[in-house]
Symmetry: C2
Subunit: 414 residues, 2 copies
């Protein structure tokens, strides 16, 4: 625990101590959006140390500066926010409380890509739909499979999510129908915000440079309409079943804050092609020991029930491999791009990162705790709130992610 003059930042359970310092974008009643950093229960509003990036309405300009600038600002902020306030304009009483500000999307997302990098998740889904012998697609162990997602529908935590309508085919012998989604689901994911100078179109990003493109992580809920997805996704992949909303937590945790929680990457067998090989000393070619939970609240006012306890360690493909593979054909990655991990499922059934897996395709009821009357779920119902949380617990300190939450509204009539 590094001490800070912001008292609330010095508690071992505080998600935002001096060694976290995540970035976000906030506004207050009378002010326009601007970049901020969380310290304790307050967002840091002004920081002359940090140059003009705090006056921007998104993180994009700062993202473009690249890793040397990120590190320089981080060191300056840690110095300025340490035990004694060193600057006139940096006093706790001048910083608004997080409870008094509105958080927004931290960046203007350029392109959003969703990977499929958890072996447990891919195997679960494959087993359900194709049987255990054909669970993994033949390419799965050779490359981090991903698809382009929809950037415009990425929203910040707290944004309500309207149950989507679309084409379903509940009876495979009958024509499809237009109806509200019946199998609405969450997917527990981690998102990486991309920064650094853009690689030129036509040029690759080698493994030893991929890590420099990682600014930081946020939680992500990749809401999914399973019945719409099932009918639409062959042969071109998920489309409308995903593009009605994708929620991220408002704080981007700098990769530096997660350094103490690094883990060796999972063993990869068969050996990957040389362009995907790396050393665990390379930035981002690792996993992280970050506890991830999903809570479901069925009725406002009742306590939420934990339905999933997973961990970021459960990723087979590293973020560096995702970036290198993404650019292997020459795709230019720009500051503000967002790449997500895919659903992060553990081996144990309690660590499955979606209702599809938890209810095993709707064959099992998930009992919610903490409800006044017995309540179960197979998929999400109107009124449900899904809250994702992430915590990396160190020796006397916690790196928290801030909530990633969304409440389900009934399908729209228009």
């Amino acid at each position: 625990m590094q001490p800070s003059f912001v008292a609330s930042a010095c508690d071992a359970s505080c998600p935002f101590p001096l060694n976290n310092l995540p970035y976000g974008v906030f506004s207050q009643k009378d002010t326009s959006r601007s970049v901020c950093v969380a310290i304790g229960d307050r967002p840091l509003v002004t920081a002359k140390t940090a140059g003009t990036i705090f006056s921007e309405a998104t993180l994009n300009a700062f993202l473009a500066l690249g890793k040397p600038a990120w590190l320089e600002v981080r060191v300056a902020l840690q110095d300025a926010l340490s035990a004694a306030p060193k600057r006139q304009n940096m006093q706790a009483e001048l910083m608004p409380l997080q409870s008094d500000v509105t958080m927004h999307l931290p960046a203007k997302i350029g392109d959003y890509t969703d990977f499929y990098s958890s072996l447990n998740h891919a195997r679960n889904v494959g087993t359900m739909f194709r049987g255990p012998e054909n669970a993994l697609p033949p390419n799965w162990l050779h490359m981090p499979i991903g698809y382009h997602g929809r950037a415009s529908s990425v929203v910040v935590s707290g944004t309500p999510v309207t149950r989507p309508c679309g084409q379903l085919r509940p009876n495979p012998e009958a024509p499809p129908v237009f109806a509200p989604c019946r199998l609405l689901d969450f997917e527990l994911e981690m998102a990486t915000l991309i920064g650094g100078p853009e690689n030129e179109l036509g040029k690759r990003i080698p493994m030893n440079e991929a890590g420099d493109r990682i600014f930081g992580f946020s939680l992500m809920n990749d809401w999914s309409a399973r019945d719409i997805q099932k009918w639409e996704y062959v042969p071109l992949g998920p489309f409308g079943a995903k593009s009605f909303a994708t929620t991220i937590s408002p704080w981007i945790i700098p990769l530096e804050a997660l350094e103490p929680f690094k883990q060796e990457p999972q063993a990869q067998d068969p050996e990957v092609l040389p362009y995907l090989r790396g050393e665990s000393s390379m930035r981002g070619h690792c996993t992280y020991n970050i506890d991830l939970t999903v809570k479901l609240q069925s009725v406002a006012g009742e306590l939420p029930s934990t339905v999933c306890r997973s961990n970021f360690k459960n990723l087979y493909w590293t973020v560096a491999q995702q970036i290198t593979h993404h650019a292997v054909t020459g795709c230019n990655m720009q500051p503000g791009d967002l790449i997500a991990s895919g659903t992060i499922s553990g081996e144990d059934a309690s660590a499955f990162g979606s209702m599809l897996e938890l209810s095993w395709k709707g064959t099992k009821e998930i009992a919610l705790e903490n409800c006044d009357s017995p309540t179960t779920r197979k998929f999400l119902q109107d009124g449900d709130t899904v809250v994702m949380e992430g915590h990396a617990v160190g020796n006397g300190f916690t790196i928290g992610f801030g909530d990633c939450s969304g409440n389900i509204l009934p399908a729209s009539k228009e």
Copy 2:
């Protein structure tokens, strides 16, 4: 033919007469990018009639204004550019020649979506890979299938295209290899630039409002690495096989200019679900009689050879249906989004819109005319230039699209 004081605009074969007036973004040696309109052999530089949109570096602000503003500016421009110059600052000699300017991407693309809306193309591809009985996926006749593409790699005509490298599996019994793409292809498409006020996330766009979101059309070459695509695309769709480059022509043809070439939409059997039904009086719920050609030039200096003659009429799903389906789950469509038609193939083999189809999966050689020595192609080779053209020929006038071209550079070593 409506007369203009710009003499070159008055020729029946001029692609940019007064009733076209397509929008683009250009720069000259000493000037920054700004919006322009093509008239004859010149881009229109200043137009006080048109307000401040001509001082913007992209079309996005104009796109956001919506159809009433688009029509107002169009009428004012047609008036100002008619037979006699009516304004001091609008004289032909004050307008630079198109040959003297550099064209850029007309808009900052938000999200890019690629549909798959030509029945002939879908049937050809399906027949090749799954046989004639299973040619069409079961959902194809029920919805305009599409996938999210990569926005960052959309480039303007003339940008060289580097042959991508990636994972291929030439021998399905052996592991994949990393190599330059061997089956590089073009896809002849039409792109729609989306404008108008954004629909709120969670709200649909009914068929009778979809047309108001269409600003105009450009040609598109959706470059494709067939061997990379084959190995990567199951189950999540095309990814790196497409995201190395997507070329569009620099001019956006306003929908109004294409009004004389409207055609009834193709008959759709089975009948589509009510949310996709429309009247042919609805804007954008139609096809257009636009001749589309693809030319291939194997050596600089030689005449290009026409390898495909197709027509925009060959689309089964209308642009209005694409937009309505895109938003059916509540996806917000923003000004600057780009949606493409998918490969536009006619019934006849000479009208197939990709080398994959023309060479029938590499089983036939395509002979190029106009070459000094006999030259054939199955797929694209380094040094090849692909030029797409579009023309709608009316009574004494032509609505042209401007070229959509790209030259293939050898694979990069890095």
